[in-house]
């Protein structure tokens, strides 16, 4: 590949690539994101390749493995262009039929299409409700691009923003654009990227660094991963533009080693970019030099904090430091270092290409653009969604997410991961916006959105986050190390049915100290899950403490399983499945749970046939006295035992 030495070279290459591509040639794209990969998309793609080869169709059909499409619930997703026929839940055994029917005969296979609530089949991906309500400007290109192909990216106008910046704009002009766009950091805090850039740019010192933070540690969030896996060139392009603006010649991408595909793709694309003259010395003939190093994170949540991340890049233990002096002024090896999240970097080329006016037309007054969320938990359409700022949580959860499964009641949504809080049903019309979410007692965070239904115990959720944080606290400062641990101890006690009066107040008191006195954001935001759940679900805490009752039926120590004698049909299913052998009974004999033996695993409730519905979960009430062992089931005449 000859080096590209100017913007014209880049455009020429793009035209060349396009000239070699027939837009009408069928192209089968197979989502190979993490979710679909877990469903077995690799096998689907391999089957496609083999079948196409055996049928000698290589010249007539293209196969492309793309990044994540976002609709993880229905993986593996296969979209056939140019018609954009979208098949969901595709298995390897469906492949021959797709080739024979759709690719050869041009007919649609109805059973693989999306079916809406009214039984209507939807052919095109964009018409599916999950996608229809989204605004996928950053995440959208994923589905067209093979992440390992720089040509795919260039064909779609990739690196045009970089070419424009390097050939037509001064660093000051770029900075002005980013500031005007009011792009706020997508990593959690929402700090304006332009101001951060400016600080680093103006900080004294010749050597400066730019860093991509892809240490996505928030459990339940994977949008950065999907971007890096699906469209890594867009992140790199943003990073190079940032480096040019700030005056950095060295960049780092800090990526979790738990994301092997992202790491692999990064090494590939960096090499491609170097070969094309988009990285290294004299980028696009502009005289600007810049290169990037990949640093794999070794797994520590706290290392996602900016100062900790920079220490980790230096090869030391990634612990945060007090930030009297910001990392933008003194970061890696004491040099000014600008750190932004994956999504922030990927948004930069869009602002340059489409202009500030276009960007600021999306979103709310103070939060511009879009945000990618990982919509997960008790929601019908699990997946990654990109929505304009200002959309309400209700729209995200119901219109895009398709509501709560099994007709259960919505209880709350957790945003911001372990640093955020739970937003209750009463605030479901809150708009997705940095400031609005903070006002509701949570935060935007990196974009985790965990939906919870009536079967989720809020005390247990708070306990879950604290146990996560107590493990992840680096232990440098006492408020975080001890405070989180003590709060966790109290919550463990409450969940075990040993809560004491005054526990809730004590939790609130410790939470305040931890929030105010911790060294870094991990500690300072750690009490959020506790405080927000106490604020909105105090009655649940009180039920645990005072009545020893878990309203959601989650906390094991506070629940018992019971077989209603009148409903039991002596089908023997629960008896056979009980791993603790705690159920006695027999053919035609009512089954009884021996409460002393029961481990509360809940298998009996799961396996009891729904038409009998005899097993119930009790909490806060005494278990009724069992019937005598050996009592026979009373059946109506003509009814047979199962």
């Amino acid at each position: 590949m000859p080096r590209l030495n100017s913007a014209t070279d880049l455009e020429k290459l793009r035209q060349e690539i396009l000239a070699h591509r027939d837009p009408n040639k069928p192209c089968v794209t197979i989502c190979s994101g993490t979710g679909c990969h877990a469903y077995g998309s690799e096998k689907v793609a391999d089957t496609f390749l083999n079948e196409i080869q055996s049928k000698n169709l290589q010249k007539k059909v293209d196969i492309r493995r793309t990044g994540c499409h976002g609709y993880c619930e229905r993986g593996t997703i296969v979209v056939i262009f140019p018609e954009e026929i979208c098949y969901l839940r595709v298995k390897p055994e469906d492949v021959p039929e797709i080739i024979a029917t759709t690719l050869v005969e041009g007919k649609i296979i109805e059973r693989l299409l999306y079916e809406d609530d009214d039984g209507q089949k939807i052919i095109h991906e964009g018409d599916i409700p999950f996608y229809k309500h989204q605004r996928r400007i950053v995440f959208g290109p994923n589905r067209f691009i093979d992440p390992k192909s720089i040509n795919d990216y260039i064909a779609r106008g990739g690196y045009a923003a970089l070419a424009k910046v390097l050939s037509e704009m001064t660093p000051e002009q770029v900075l002005e654009e980013v500031k005007k766009a009011n792009l706020r950091g997508r990593g959690g805090g929402g700090f304006p990227a332009g101001i951060k850039w400016e600080t680093t740019r103006n900080a004294p010192g010749e050597i400066k660094y730019v860093i991509v933070n892809a240490d996505e540690g928030d459990p339940g969030a994977y949008m950065d991963r999907s971007l890096l896996e699906g469209n890594p060139h867009s992140v790199l392009e943003g990073l190079i533009i940032g480096a040019y603006t700030i005056g950095a010649h060295q960049g780092f991408i800090y990526v979790r080693q738990e994301y092997p595909l992202a790491v692999e793709n990064l090494y590939i694309i960096l090499e491609q970019a170097r070969e094309h003259g988009l990285l290294g010395a004299n980028i696009l003939g502009s005289g600007f030099d810049f290169d990037v190093m990949v640093h794999r994170g070794a797994g520590a949540f706290v290392s996602g904090e900016s100062s900790a991340l920079m220490t980790a890049i230096e090869g030391r233990v990634g612990e945060p430091r007090p930030k009297y002096i910001r990392t933008a002024v003194s970061g890696i090896w004491g040099k000014p270092s600008n750190l932004n999240n994956v999504e922030t970097w990927a948004t930069i080329p869009l602002i340059i290409n489409n202009g500030v006016t276009w960007f600021t037309s999306i979103g709310t007054e103070k939060s511009k653009g879009t945000k990618i969320f990982s919509l997960v938990g008790k929601v019908n359409n699990t997946g990654l969604v990109e929505v304009p700022m200002g959309m309400t949580l209700r729209e995200v959860i119901y219109d895009i997410g398709g509501g709560i499964p099994h007709g259960k009641k919505f209880k709350g949504v957790q945003t911001g991961g372990p640093s955020g809080g739970v937003i209750p049903e009463s605030l479901i019309d809150t708009r997705v916006d940095f400031d609005e979410l903070t006002k509701a007692g949570s935060m935007m965070g990196s974009g985790g959105m965990i939906v919870m239904d009536e079967d989720t115990c809020m005390v247990d959720v708070a306990r879950y986050f604290l146990s996560f944080l107590s493990e992840e606290s680096c232990g440098q400062c006492v408020p975080c190390r001890e405070g989180i641990y003590q709060m966790l101890k109290i919550l463990n006690r409450i969940c075990a049915g040993q809560g004491k009066p005054g526990d809730i107040e004590l939790l609130e008191e410790i939470a305040e100290v931890v929030r105010d006195a911790s060294l870094c954001a991990l500690g300072a935001t750690a009490p959020n899950p506790v405080l927000s759940t106490i604020k909105y679900f105090r009655d649940e805490y009180e039920a645990h403490v005072e009545k020893k009752r878990c309203p959601a039926g989650v906390c094991k120590a506070l629940i018992s399983y019971y077989i209603e004698p009148k409903k039991c049909q002596a089908c023997l299913i629960c008896l056979r499945n009980c791993p603790a052998e705690a159920i006695s009974g027999g053919k035609n004999l009512i089954h009884i749970i021996n409460q002393d033996k029961c481990t509360k695993c809940g298998v009996c409730l799961e396996v009891c046939p729904p038409q009998f519905d005899a097993v119930v979960k009790l909490s806060g009430v005494p278990v009724p006295k069992p019937v005598a062992i050996g009592t026979e089931v009373k059946r109506k005449r003509g009814e047979k035992s199962e």
């Binding site: 993490t34 979710g35 990969h37 877990a38 469903y39 993880c72 619930e73 993986g75 540690g217 928030d218 459990p219 339940g220 969030a221 994977y222 991963r225 999907s226 080693q257 738990e258 994301y259 640093h295 794999r296 994170g297 070794a298 797994g299 520590a300 949540f301 290392s303 980790a312 890049i313 230096e314 090869g315 030391r316 233990v317 990634g318 612990e319 990982s374 997960v376 938990g377 008790k378 699990t382 997946g383 957790q414 991961g417 985790g448 965990i450 919870m452 989720t456 959720v461 879950y464 986050f465 996560f468 680096c474 791993p579 695993c601 809940g602």
Partner: protein, 254 residues
């Protein structure tokens, strides 16, 4: 037991002038072609004569005692014993050479890794990650070697190796079993899945089974929340398997 005794007396002997004379005489009797053989046989005979002629209390040889005459039967016995010693020696030598070879190979691999990063101290974490991936754990000699090569105190290396979750200081089983404990999996019942796994494998998170077959760990979000609660065995994802399914999955792992 007896063999070991003979061996130690055979190795740890000090030759006095008296015994040296005995040795010379025996050389003629044995009429052996190679010097090594003579020496080995001689040493063995020496040990016997040594124990026969020593005055234990004083630790000095009894000058009055006459060296025994060796019968041909005894000689052939001694000869076969000597052969045994030779083969044991050879085996031990081979084994230690093998171990040394392995150690050298491993250290050479580490050298390669260090060279890959240009011997840069700042790349310590990256180097450790590569060693971890190669061995599935961080052996102590590897860490000591890295410490020497990069001139980083071993304590600092242990600081890093214990801080990050990716590193293990104990050997890991042949198959890794991870249960996702991310938030989405948690609300969908990950604790119960974990309980099922620990019951089936009879090991707790962070532990390895005695037969080195499985290592169990918990992870925070694997990025496939739609499948939650999810368990990963080596590379394969399993969405909320039942106890029966789980047993089948584990049975396929050797």
């Amino acid at each position: 037991m007896a063999k070991r005794k003979t061996k130690s007396s055979f190795v740890g002997i000090k030759v006095t002038t008296e015994q040296a004379k005995t040795l010379t005489r025996l050389q003629g009797v044995l009429n052996s072609p190679t010097k090594t053989e003579v020496l080995l046989k001689g040493l063995d005979l020496l040990s016997k004569s040594y124990s026969a002629t020593l005055v234990p209390r004083e630790g000095r040889p009894d000058t009055k005692a006459e060296p025994r005459v060796v019968t041909s039967l005894e000689l052939s016995q001694l000869e076969s014993e000597a052969h045994q010693y030779i083969s044991i020696l050879q085996q031990t030598k081979n084994r230690s050479e093998e171990v040394m070879k392995q150690v050298i190979q491993e250290l050479a691999k580490i050298d390669q890794t260090i060279d890959k990063y240009g011997g840069d101290k700042d790349c310590l974490i990256q180097i450790l990650l590569d060693i971890q991936r190669e061995n599935r754990w961080l052996p102590k000699d590897a860490l000591m070697w890295v410490s020497q090569k990069l001139d980083i105190p071993l304590t600092q290396i242990y600081h890093i190796a214990t801080f990050y979750k990716a590193f293990s200081l104990v050997p890991q089983g042949r198959h890794s079993v991870s249960v996702c404990m991310g938030t989405a999996c948690h609300v969908r019942g990950a604790p119960r899945l974990l309980e099922k796994v620990t019951d089936t494998l009879k090991i707790k998170p962070g532990e390895t089974s005695d037969d080195m077959r499985f290592s169990l760990k918990t992870v925070n979000c694997l990025g496939c929340c739609a499948l939650g609660p999810v368990m990963v065995v080596d590379e394969d994802y399993h969405s909320n398997p039942s106890t029966g399914e789980m047993e089948k999955i584990f049975a396929t792992c050797d």
